[in-house]
């Protein structure tokens, strides 16, 4: 199994310093705290959690856009931890990103053909201009954008089209892993489905592996093989997608699931309402970080931090099991 792992993350940690002032209180926002998981070739691994739980930070850590404080990132059997910026540039070729906001992730001053040509220029300077041009056209075609748009600027496209261009940019280097950071959250629902279908189609055709980051379980449901639920910088549950939806283990997962709308008005479901706000990541509760909002909190939860353990084929970090 381990041999089939494309990406392995071990105990990765990222604390952002809160202030650098001389007299102000010091502290850290524990954005990602001791997170471990592995992604197998060809699967879609989804990371869900509410905003501010550290899922985007985790995506950026894996891509090396920010450096981790501790822990290891092993990609294709190679440990990337501690590599310098120059080494990271070559690691990023098989590991591309798709960003949340398609309005801001494309350069406003470049034509589409130049935006897509850039990754090729960087990683394949040996290719001729004509070859690169055909490659750009092919990839646009694959992503559902007509070739006559080549000379347009990003702002001349709709959100869905822009996200397709963003996907094309990630795809043009023939990557193995794509880190999709909320790729559909900025789009409206009908476009979301189109883009998700495109991603699924591309996965089959190009044997892609996805790390799919989202706050929306209903989006994740259709494309994921495995789902990890994050809460305040920790992963609280990792399960195969169908198990998460049929029998969620962690109380937080249960609460999240109960918030997903069901497109059938006759189905009645008990909604688990969480008390209070998400705690401050700079000063998270001791013990289990979720105990302050958990309906099943026990005394042990306030003191001992639960570790991920296997429960009926699912990985859960909870004292209930």
């Amino acid at each position: 199994m381990a041999a089939n792992n494309l990406l392995e993350v071990k105990n990765i940690k990222k604390y952002f310093p809160l202030s650098k002032g001389w007299f102000s209180a010091k502290g850290h926002v524990k954005a990602v705290d001791q997170v471990s998981f592995s992604i197998q070739r060809g699967e879609t691994f989804s990371l869900v959690g509410e905003s501010g739980c550290g899922k985007s930070t985790l995506g950026r850590l894996i891509n090396g856009l920010i450096k981790s404080d501790d822990g290891e990132i092993i990609f294709k059997g190679k440990n990337l931890t501690g590599a310098n910026e120059k080494a990271w540039r070559s690691y990023r070729k098989p590991m591309q990103m798709i960003f949340q906001d398609p309005y801001a992730s494309l350069s406003p001053r470049m034509k589409i053909k130049d935006i897509l040509d850039e990754p090729l220029k960087i990683h394949h300077p040996e290719l001729s201009k004509e070859t690169r041009k055909t490659m750009v056209q092919e990839i646009l075609d694959v992503c559902g954008i007509d070739a006559y748009h080549l000379d347009k600027y990003a702002h001349e496209f709709s959100g869905g089209q822009r996200q397709r261009i963003g996907i094309a940019r990630a795809l043009i280097l023939k990557p193995e892993l794509i880190i999709a950071d909320e790729p559909v959250s900025a789009l409206d629902v009908s476009i979301q489905a189109q883009v998700l279908n495109l991603l699924k189609e591309l996965q089959e055709n190009y044997q892609l592996t996805y790390l799919f980051i989202s706050h929306d379980l209903s989006v994740v449901e259709h494309i994921s093989d495995k789902i990890a639920v994050m809460y305040l910088g920790n992963i609280v549950e990792i399960s195969p997608a169908e198990d998460i939806f049929s029998r969620p283990k962690h109380p937080y997962t249960q609460a999240l699931l109960s918030a997903v709308p069901i497109p059938n008005p006759k189905v009645k479901r008990e909604r688990i309402m969480l008390k209070g706000e998400i705690p401050n990541a700079a000063n998270p509760p001791k013990g289990c970080k979720f105990h302050s909002r958990c309906p099943h909190a026990m005394d042990i939860c306030k003191t001992v931090e639960p570790q991920l353990k296997k429960v009926e084929g699912q990985m859960v970090a909870c004292h209930l099991y």
Partner: protein, 293 residues
């Protein structure tokens, strides 16, 4: 389709960029007038020597220190040379010194500003502290100091004025770079594996360009004034040349008797600097409205 958000702040006026710029600029009446005045100066700088009515260097001892008349529009100087012709011919020298020094300062300052803003940390601190040192000197005093080291002469005036332009450009470009580098598309470019120099020059620099253009126009006036001041002090153009500052310098002895000798060179320096400042204001309102105070 999915037009949920329409963010206009980083949308360039790409299609017909020039046209939409012109449409906005045309409403700034004084800026347009200044622009035409500046164009006139440029034309005079280019073709001036071949259209002047008199040779600016030929003395005419029969018409010394004459006031303005139809024959000599701006009068004659102590050697009987036509002041109007000398002013026109001097355009090339004065504008040339101003433009070349500002361009030199802008190029160096922009590169420093981009590096400072993008790399941050100790690089930023070092560059900005050095700039602070330069800011601490009054402009003209700094230029005099530099000329004291390099020796007088037009070329050294250009260098001196360029040097005191560097810190201000560096600071403005750094500020803009700090803003641009946090934009998502810069991160996206990093994520495809672009090198730092590629990000800085191909992605950050174009975003700072409009700020640079505005600042360039604004500083051009100051630079022309500074170059004229240095020539007036005898540190720049040779007193016999038709540089505006040098002409003022030569004629100050005659201020009481031949007022026109001081008035016309002063007037043209004043108009040039004023028009450049108004034009800079207009450009800023159109290109870079956020930087307005």
């Amino acid at each position: 389709m999915a037009e949920i958000v329409t963010k206009t702040d980083y949308m360039p006026k790409s299609r017909g960029k020039l046209r939409s710029f012109c449409a906005a600029f045309i409403h700034k009446k004084t800026a347009v007038a200044s622009f035409f005045f500046f164009c006139l100066l440029i034309i005079l700088a280019l073709i001036g020597p071949s259209i002047v009515p008199y040779n600016p260097q030929t003395p005419d001892y029969n018409h010394v220190l004459q006031g303005p008349s139809w024959l000599h529009l701006a009068g004659t100087d102590e050697y009987g040379r036509d002041v109007f012709s000398r002013l026109i011919v001097g355009t090339r020298l004065s504008l040339g010194v101003g433009i070349s020094s500002v361009l030199l300062g802008a190029v160096a300052g922009t590169i420093l500003g981009l590096i400072s803003g993008y790399f941050g940390k100790w690089v930023d601190k070092t560059i900005m502290r050095i700039c602070d040192v330069f800011f601490a000197f009054p402009d003209i005093l700094l230029a005099i100091g530099i000329i004291a080291i390099l020796g007088p002469g037009l070329q050294n005036v250009v260098i001196a004025v360029a040097i005191f332009n560097i810190p201000s450009f560096a600071r403005v470009v750094r500020g803009k770079t700090l803003e641009v580098k946090e934009m998502l598309f810069i991160e996206a470019t990093r994520s495809i594996g672009a090198t730092k120099s590629r990000i800085i020059f191909k992605h950050v620099f174009p975003e700072t360009f409009s700020t640079i253009i505005v600042y360039l126009t604004m500083n051009l006036g100051t630079a022309i004034l500074a170059a004229a001041s240095l020539s007036f002090l005898g540190l720049g153009a040779s007193p016999s040349s038709s540089d505006w500052g040098a002409m003022l310098s030569m004629s100050r002895d005659y201020m009481g008797t031949a007022f026109h000798l001081v008035f016309f060179p002063g007037l043209i320096i004043f108009l040039t600097v004023l028009s450049l400042n108004i034009m800079g204001d207009g450009l800023r309102d159109v290109l870079d409205p956020k930087s307005k105070d």
